[in-house]
C-alpha cells in the first residue's frame, strides 16, 4: 500500500496508554515553537527579533507596574477559560464566550446607568451577579437551540456573539449614551460604589482576580472530585457508554452552556466595573476567543488553565509593549494566538500517538 515516495514519512502509531510526559511537555513545547515562529515573522516584516523578544517576553516581568497589568488581564481569561473547558470536556463547543462576555458587561452596567446616584457596598457585588446572569441567559439561547432544535451550538453561539456586539453598539449610540459625553459611544462613568475594590494598592488589579482563582478551585473540585463533573467528562469521551449509564445529554448541554455563560458574563461585568469604569465600544476585545486557546493550552484541566491564562496575559501585555517599543503591529498578537493553538494541537497528538519511523529492513507489503 505504502508507495516508495511515502516510505520516508513517519507515521503515527497509537500508544498503548496516553503519555503523561507528553501531556506535560506539550504546552511548553508549543509555546516555544510559537515564539520561534513569531520571531521569524517579526524578522520577515523587518523588525529586530531581539527587541521583539525583549518587549514581549521580558518587559512584562521587568516592572511591578507591567506585571500587575498581566495579572489584570489574567482575571477575565482565567474565568472564561475555566467555564469553557468544562463544556469542551463534555464536547459541547461553546465558542460564543465573546458575546456572553459582552452581555455580562451590559447587564452589570444597567445599575450604574439607571441608578447613577445609588451608593452602598452592595452595588458592585450585585453588578457582578447580574453580569453572570446576563452571560448565562445569553448562553441559554444556544442551549435551547441545541437541545430543543438540534442546532449546532458552534454556529449558534458564534452568531449570537456577532449580535451581542451590535446590541452593545445600539445601547451606546442610543439609550445608554452619556448625555454629557461629547457624543462618544460610551456610557456615563460609573460611581465609586459601582467599582470592584482594588486588590493590590497602587495597581489596577482588583478583587475579581480572587474570584477567578476561586472559580478555578471550584472548577477543579467540580471536574476532578464531583460525580456530576465526572459524568460530564464521560459523556464527552464515550457518549454511548454514558447514555447506557442513564446519563442525560440534554442536561450536559444545558450545564456546559450555563456554566460557560455564567463565567464569561462575570468576566464581562468585572471588566466594566474594574479597569474600564464605564460601558464602552471597545469591550469586545477578543477575550472570549483567546480563552478558547487558553482552555486548550491548559489541557482543559483547571490547574493547567491557571498557567495558560497567565501565559496568554503575558502575550497580550507583551504585544502592547512590542507595539510601542518594537513598532510591531498589534495584529501580530492574533497571528501568535493562532500559531500557538496550532502548535499545541500538533504537540498534543503525541499524548496518544508516537511516531514510527519506517525502517529499511521492513519488507514491502
Amino acid at each position: 500500500m505504502t508507495g516508495s515516495a511515502l516510505s520516508i514519512v513517519p507515521s503515527l502509531v497509537r500508544r498503548d496508554r496516553a503519555s503523561l510526559a507528553a501531556t506535560l511537555i506539550a504546552p511548553p513545547v508549543a509555546l516555544a515553537v510559537a515564539i520561534l515562529l513569531n520571531l521569524l515573522l517579526a524578522m520577515a516584516i523587518g523588525r529586530s527579533p531581539s527587541a521583539v523578544l525583549h518587549a514581549m517576553l521580558l518587559e512584562p516581568f521587568l516592572s511591578w507596574a507591567s506585571f500587575s497589568e498581566v495579572l489584570l488581564k489574567t482575571g477575565p481569561l482565567l474565568l472564561i477559560a475555566q467555564g469553557l473547558a468544562i463544556g469542551f470536556r463534555a464536547r459541547v463547543f461553546n465558542i460564543g464566550a465573546e458575546g456572553q462576555f459582552v452581555l455580562g458587561a451590559i447587564f452589570a452596567s444597567a445599575i450604574p446607568v439607571w441608578f447613577p446616584q445609588a451608593t452602598g457596598g452592595w452595588i458592585w457585588p450585585l453588578m457582578l451577579l447580574l453580569g453572570a446572569i446576563g452571560g448565562a441567559l445569553w448562553a441559554s439561547i444556544t442551549a435551547f437551540w441545541r437541545v430543543r432544535l438540534n442546532a449546532n451550538e458552534i454556529l449558534v453561539s458564534l452568531m449570537l456573539s456577532l449580535v451581542a456586539v451590535q446590541l452593545l453598539y445600539f445601547l451606546l449610540l442610543g439609550p445608554w449614551k452619556d448625555p454629557n459625553g461629547f457624543n462618544f459611544p460610551q456610557s456615563v462613568l460609573f460611581q465609586v460604589d459601582a467599582m470592584v475594590p482594588t486588590l493590590i494598592p497602587g495597581t489596577r488589579v482588583n478583587v475579581s482576580l480572587l474570584l477567578a482563582v476561586a472559580a478555578s478551585l471550584a472548577a477543579w473540585v467540580f471536574m476532578q472530585k464531583s460525580f456530576l463533573g465526572y459524568t460530564l467528562q464521560v459523556g464527552g469521551m464515550a457518549p454511548r457508554a454514558a447514555s447506557y449509564a442513564g446519563f442525560n445529554e440534554s442536561r450536559a448541554i444545558w450545564l456546559s452552556l450555563l456554566i460557560g455563560g455564567f463565567a464569561a458574563g462575570l468576566a464581562g461585568a468585572a471588566e466594566v466595573a474594574g479597569p474600564l469604569g464605564q460601558l464602552q465600544r471597545s469591550i469586545p476585545t477578543g477575550y472570549g476567543y483567546a480563552a478558547i486557546i487558553v482552555a486548550y493550552l491548559g489541557g482543559l484541566h483547571p490547574l493547567g488553565i491557571v498557567l495558560s491564562s497567565l501565559v496568554m496575559a503575558v502575550i497580550y501585555i507583551g504585544g502592547d509593549n512590542a507595539m510601542v517599543s518594537a513598532n510591531l503591529p498589534i495584529a501580530v498578537v492574533r497571528v501568535f494566538q493562532g500559531i500557538l493553538l496550532l502548535s499545541y494541537l500538533i504537540a498534543v497528538a503525541f499524548v496518544r500517538y508516537r511516531l514510527a519511523w519506517p525502517t529499511a529492513a521492513r519488507s514491502p507489503t
Binding site: 451590535q166 495584529a331 496550532l342
Partner: protein, 303 residues
Amino acid sequence: MNAIEFILAGMLAAATPFLLAALGEMVVERAGVLNLGVEGLMALGAVIAFITVYHGGGHLLGFLAAGAAGTLLSLVFAFVALGFRANQVATGLAIGILGQGLSALFGKSYESLTVKGLPKLSVPGLSELPVIGGLFVQDVVVWLSLGATLAIWATFTFTRVGLVLRAVGENPKAAHAIGYPVIAVRVAAIAFGGMMAGFAGAYAAAVYTPLWADGMIAGRGWIAIALVVFGTWLTGRIFLGACLFGAVSLMSLAAQAGGLDLPSQLLSSLPYLVTIIVLGIISADRRLLKLNGVASLGEPFER
C-alpha cells in the same frame, strides 16, 4: 427602481461571497472533514486580492493570488487536522484566528483605501426585461460562480470523482479497503475549499465592496458554514440559501433607503439572526439532516 428590483438586481452579487465559500466548505464536508476556519481563509484571500489589485496587478491576478493564499492556509489545516489527527473544531478555530490575524497584519497600511471594482456584463435581451432585468446584469465573477455551481453539481451527480469524494466522507474505512487514498482525497477537498474561500474573500474585498477595512468579512465565513447545513450538503439548496442571504443583506440597505425607521444595528444583525432562526428550523428536522448529512464528518481517519 423600487425595493424589489433593487434586491433582484443586487442579490446575486451579494450572494457570491457566501456561495463560493459555502460550495467550497460543502466539498470539504462531503469528504468528511469539518473546517471551521472559513472566516480566516476568506479574510486572508480578501487582503491578498485587495493588495494585488491596489498595486495594479489586476483582478485576475488578484483572484489567483487569493485562491493560492486560501489553499496554502487550508493546507496548514490539513497538515494539523489530518497529519496529526487533531481535533478538527479546535484546528479550524485556530486557522480562523490565524487567517484573521494575517489579514489584519497585511492590511494595516491599506485601511480605508479603495480599488476599482469590475464592470457589469449584461445578457442582451434578457436584461431589458421589466422587474427581473437586473438579474441579468452582473460582473464576470458572478457569471463564473454560477458556472462553478453548475460544475460542482454535475461533478457530484455524474462523475466518479464525486462518488469517490462521497464514499470517503460516508465510510472512510470501506473506501480505504477498496483502494481509495482517503487522506489524499481529503487533502484535495480541503485545498479546494481553501481556494474557494480565498476567491470568496477576493470577491468581497476587490469587487463587491472594493474598500479595505479590517474585519470586513464580518461573519460571512461563518454564515457560509451555516449555509452548508441549511442546504443539507446539496449544491442546489446551498445556491438558494446563498441567494436568500444575498437578499437579506440587501434588505437592510433597502429598508434604510426606504426610510424605514429601524436601528441600523438591528439591520446589521439581520443576517446573523436569520442564520440562527433558519438553523433552528432546518436542524429541528432530524430526519432531513440524517438523510443528507455526512456520516464521518469531523472524525479523524485511522487505518
